[in-house]
């Protein structure tokens, strides 16, 4: 252990601990900005400088490991003056239109200014010296360089968590900036729209593209029937933007709030998540049958899940030769969209041209997905507007809703029912678990051999998870699987997806079925979720997801009554012609670099 003194208090910590972390042990807060718990140390912003006795300069507490006998002072005049200067400098290069900014009151720079740099500004406004533009090209997010303070969190996120590096630090000196490849519009570079950068941007430099006004317009249009669906991960995180602690489930209140906002039908993406399991599970079993029993060499194994639009764009760019391995199933959002303007419209006797289909997603990539040209199988744009969890929170506030005191209510019927299997789609491993719960039962006629249906080997926060399920006692149709060991893998965060894909490319992957989610932790850690994010927060959201699952009466997708009904009344059976028309899609190879 290393012993040191911070503000004259003694503390003993493990070697390698930073001064910042040691201070935390003593409950001494040191302000930070470029530092982020998910990312490597940068030491760039210098907000966290502290004084070390005997040192010539101040030291960055986030980047300096403790040494024996070190004497640190976090609140001397020298430190305060430097800190104030640094925050003032950041403000001077930042376009401070705070009252109009989407990140107003959610901006980390603003909070620092509030603590250290209130009152008269010292320095010149540097923004007019630069020729800044706002990149609105992506349907998912916007990049406003005039608000960028060069903390490089976004760059580290894109590299360390996502293995994409769509953005990098470019130029030097006063021209230094965060840039895409040669300043191309974000819509024209290798970017997955995952929004993890948005989640970690401390200011308003990277924000989702909002469609709040368009949604309000639709709601106020008496001609329109506005349908809303909410993704599984939204209900376990929305509360964070409305004053709740991470991990609080607010499903019922959210449904009530959506009605109060004025949505005409409040439905659940969980319904189409269950539908996805039916389609994808059937697809998997069909592939396995063709590959293993019929010896069809054209069939590609492993099959990859296709729910995560960030992952889809990743594989389209980086591993296009494996597009045939992707399940052809649309994501639950898009299955829902296709059905809202067909099945739902018919059932409700509404002219589909009058339906405005809105989804609330933990995701920014879903905005891009909804804009894909192939997502029009209803004859209309299947999903009109995608809102993030954060945008929904804004709308709830705009509507003046006293969220905390709302009564809970249930989703509408028809495409409103869900099961626990659908809920867990929001967590890494959830799609796999849901698929196994159903597929195993189809094949063997028995429930998966796990206590309470909880397939724990596929759960948890490890970047890449592997599991093997031995299939025994098959029903007659599935005898070819008797004794087979179904090998599955799960990855979350594209850096981990890349690890799996590298092995798949090398031909050393033993898997039959692979679940991949673009975001750390799965959808609960999505780019549209409340800010901040961290491993702790993501774990709490995941606990909430599993607890939501355990509280459901139905926990297997094939038991969802709305799903049973739609096959009976409309789709026939899984992977039927009608299902293929509406619920399946194809993919596009894109440039790799």
């Amino acid at each position: 252990m290393i012993n040191l003194y911070i503000n004259d208090q003694k503390v003993s910590v493990e070697p390698g601990t930073t001064v910042l972390a040691a201070a935390k042990e003593l409950n001494i807060t040191i302000p930070t900005l470029c530092n982020h718990p998910d990312l490597c140390v940068a030491g760039n912003c210098r907000v966290c400088v502290v004084e070390q006795e005997g040192a010539r300069t101040l030291i960055a507490s986030c980047a300096t490991p403790v040494t024996e006998g070190m004497k640190i002072h976090t609140n001397t005049l020298k430190v305060r003056n430097a800190r104030k200067h640094i925050v003032e400098l950041l403000l001077s290069e930042h376009r401070s239109d705070c009252t109009k900014c989407y990140k107003n009151q959610k901006c980390e720079l603003q909070s620092l200014a509030n603590e250290f740099a209130f009152g008269d500004t010292i320095f010149l406004d540097l923004v007019p010296y630069h020729n800044y533009t706002i990149d609105r090209s992506s349907p998912s997010f916007m990049k406003d360089d005039s608000k960028c303070i060069r903390c490089q969190r976004c760059v580290r996120t894109c590299t360390e968590l996502q293995h994409i590096s769509a953005i990098a630090v470019a130029n030097k000196g006063l021209h230094q900036k965060i840039s895409s490849f040669h300043d191309r519009p974000m819509s024209h570079v290798v970017c997955t729209n995952c929004g993890q950068c948005v989640n970690r941007c401390p200011t308003g430099a990277l924000v989702e593209k909002t469609y709040i006004d368009q949604v309000w317009d639709a709601i106020y249009d008496p001609e329109k029937h506005v349908v809303v669906q909410t993704a599984p991960a939204v209900r376990v995180a929305l509360g964070e933007d409305l004053g709740y602690d991470p991990g609080e489930r607010v499903t019922g209140k959210m449904v009530t709030a959506l009605r109060q906002i004025g949505f005409d039908s409040v439905l659940d993406t969980d319904f189409s998540a269950d539908l996805t399991i039916m389609e994808e599970g059937t697809e998997l079993l069909t592939r396995l049958k063709k590959a293993l029993a019929d010896g069809d060499k054209k069939i590609r194994i492993p099959m990859f899940t296709s729910c995560s639009p960030g992952w889809i764009k990743f594989i389209e760019h980086k591993y296009p030769e494996f597009l045939p391995n992707l399940s052809t199933c649309k994501s639950p959002q898009q299955m829902f969209g296709a059905l809202a303007k067909t099945y739902f419209a018919q059932k409700k006797k509404i002219d589909p041209s009058k339906i405005v289909s809105v989804s609330v997603m933990p995701c920014t990539a879903k905005k891009y997905e909804a804009d894909r040209p192939e997502m029009r199988s209803s004859g209309y744009k299947d999903i009109d507007f995608v809102l993030t969890t954060r945008e929904l929170a804004v709308m709830i506030k705009q509507a003046g809703i006293d969220f905390r005191n709302l009564e809970s209510s249930n989703y509408d019927s028809i495409m409103g029912d869900s099961t626990g299997a659908a809920v867990i789609f929001g967590a890494t491993g959830g799609v796999m678990e849901a698929a196994l719960r159903t597929a195993y039962e189809i094949v063997t006629g028995r429930e998966v051999p796990f206590k309470n249906l909880n397939i724990t080997p596929v759960r948890g926060m490890e970047g890449v998870k592997e599991a093997t399920l031995k299939i025994e006692g098959c029903l007659p149709d599935w005898k070819f699987l008797e004794g087979a060991e179904l090998k599955v893998a799960i990855a979350h965060g594209l850096v981990n997806a890349n690890k799996i894909m590298r092995n798949v490319r090398k031909g050393t992957s033993p898997y039959h079925f692979v679940e991949i989610m673009a975001c750390p932790g799965g959808c609960i850690g999505g780019g549209g979720q409340p800010i901040p994010t961290s491993m702790d927060i993501r774990k709490k959201r995941i606990e909430a997801i599993y607890s939501e699952d355990e509280h459901m009466i139905l926990r297997k997708s094939h038991e969802n009554p709305d799903v049973i009904a739609i096959y009976k009344e409309f789709l026939g059976k899984p992977n039927s012609h009608a299902a293929h028309e509406l619920l399946h899609t194809h993919y596009t190879e894109r440039e790799s670099y």
Binding site: N44, C45, A82, I86, E93, K172, H175, Q176
Partner: protein
């Protein structure tokens, strides 16, 4: 009265020596012996920062990793220095010689010369000389190879950790320290990085013995040093001088009779005004320098000098840390506004405070030293800045 030495010209760096003999001698010496001699000589890094060379080698030698590097910093970018180019041009074999000696001291088998892109025209010749050199040391029995890495126009790459990043194919952004290069340098391996002149000096110390070198200079600034003299002087060029003289003595030798200020140490160094010439020693006890000596006569506007330096820093800051990236822009735009009368002259006081913050809060030596020139010019020539 100052405790200074007379201005004395020395011929050590460019002195012709039989390299093979010196290196044979070094080959017979143990690592400890080489380090002891360099420590005894009192040699401090000649790039400007002035870290004791022997100590640097000692720390690197103590590292257990079998893969170590000796890196020659030939990214001479400080405005006003050109001595390393001259040294490489005239006595490259002595630079290589210094690298072999350093490599024996620290236990490295690989050497890298990082040559600034501006000096690329020298490369063909340097590589020819290197080829001969490799043959020669092989004959002696050394197991050591030198490679060249070229810069591409970035002042900051002279900062050691930025230089490593550049060798590794990255943007030349300085790293957080610790860890220091001696434990984690290029390719994150223990590395001794030394300036061109330092390496030549080390070879000459082995050649002449540490006492000869130690006898030169003062207590804090041992030995001699190559100075790059430019500006308003009738005799611009390269001069090797014993350390310890005052700025006055220097001006007496090199001035044009009308010298009003000397910028010692380049844009990141200090401006010494006429009234302080006699009381300022050039060296670690006074104003340290990597060799850049610029003379300004009374026809020059010190506002223009400062403006030129600030423009330089604004562009050459790597841009990663706030105090340096934004601070440089503020200092430049600030003095422009004061000059134009758009800001009160008292704003200079705010800017001096900012320069002080940059000195203590910046990530690397660049940002930390911008304040040197700023403060010394603004404080000594305030009127010229304002009016």
């Amino acid at each position: 009265m100052t405790n200074n030495k007379e201005l004395t010209k020395v011929d050590l760096i460019f002195e012709k020596v039989e390299a093979k003999q010196v290196l044979k001698k070094a080959f017979e010496m143990t690592s400890e012996e080489i380090i002891r001699q360099v420590l005894e000589s009192g040699l401090k890094g000649r790039g400007g920062a002035g870290f004791p060379t022997g100590l640097k080698w000692k720390y690197t030698a103590a590292e257990k990793d079998p893969e170590k590097y000796i890196v020659c910093n030939a990214d001479e970018g400080e405005p006003g220095t050109f001595k390393d180019r001259e040294i490489l041009d005239r006595v490259a074999y002595k630079v290589y010689g210094g690298m072999v000696i350093a490599a024996s001291a620290i236990g490295a088998k690989k050497g890298i010369v990082y040559l600034r892109g501006e000096y690329r025209f020298l490369l063909p010749k340097l590589l020819l000389e290197l080829e001969q050199f490799h043959k020669m040391i092989k004959e002696i029995g050394y197991d050591f190879r030198i490679n060249y890495c070229l810069g591409s126009g970035a002042y900051i790459c002279g900062e050691e950790s930025a230089l490593f990043e550049s060798i590794q194919g990255e943007r030349g952004e300085p790293r957080n320290k610790p860890p220091y290069p001696t434990s984690s340098g290029v390719f994150f391996k223990p590395t001794s990085i030394n300036n061109v002149e330092t390496l030549v000096t080390a070879m000459m110390i082995v050649h002449h013995g540490p006492e000869t070198y130690n006898r030169l200079g003062t207590k804090d600034s041992r030995g001699s040093k190559v100075f790059s003299v430019s500006g308003d002087t009738p005799t611009p060029g390269i001069f090797e001088l014993e350390l310890g003289m005052t700025v006055q003595q220097f001006v007496n030798e090199f001035g044009d009779g009308d010298t009003k200020a000397v910028q010692v140490g380049g844009a990141s160094g200090f401006c010494v005004p006429r009234k302080k010439f006699a009381s300022t020693i050039i060296g670690f006890e006074g104003v340290p320098t990597g060799g850049s000596m610029k003379l300004f006569n009374s026809s020059r506007s010190m506002y223009n000098v400062l403006h030129n330096y600030l423009e330089f820093f604004e562009e050459e800051s790597c841009g990663q840390c706030t105090p340096c990236r934004v601070g440089c822009q503020q200092l430049l735009k600030g003095v422009e506004k004061v000059k134009k009368g758009e800001m009160k002259s008292t704003y200079l006081n705010e800017l001096i405070k900012l320069a002080d913050t940059m000195k203590i809060a910046s990530k690397c030596g660049l940002g930390q030293s911008v304040g040197n020139a700023f403060r010394s010019i603004v404080e000594n020539f305030r009127e010229e800045i304002i009016y």
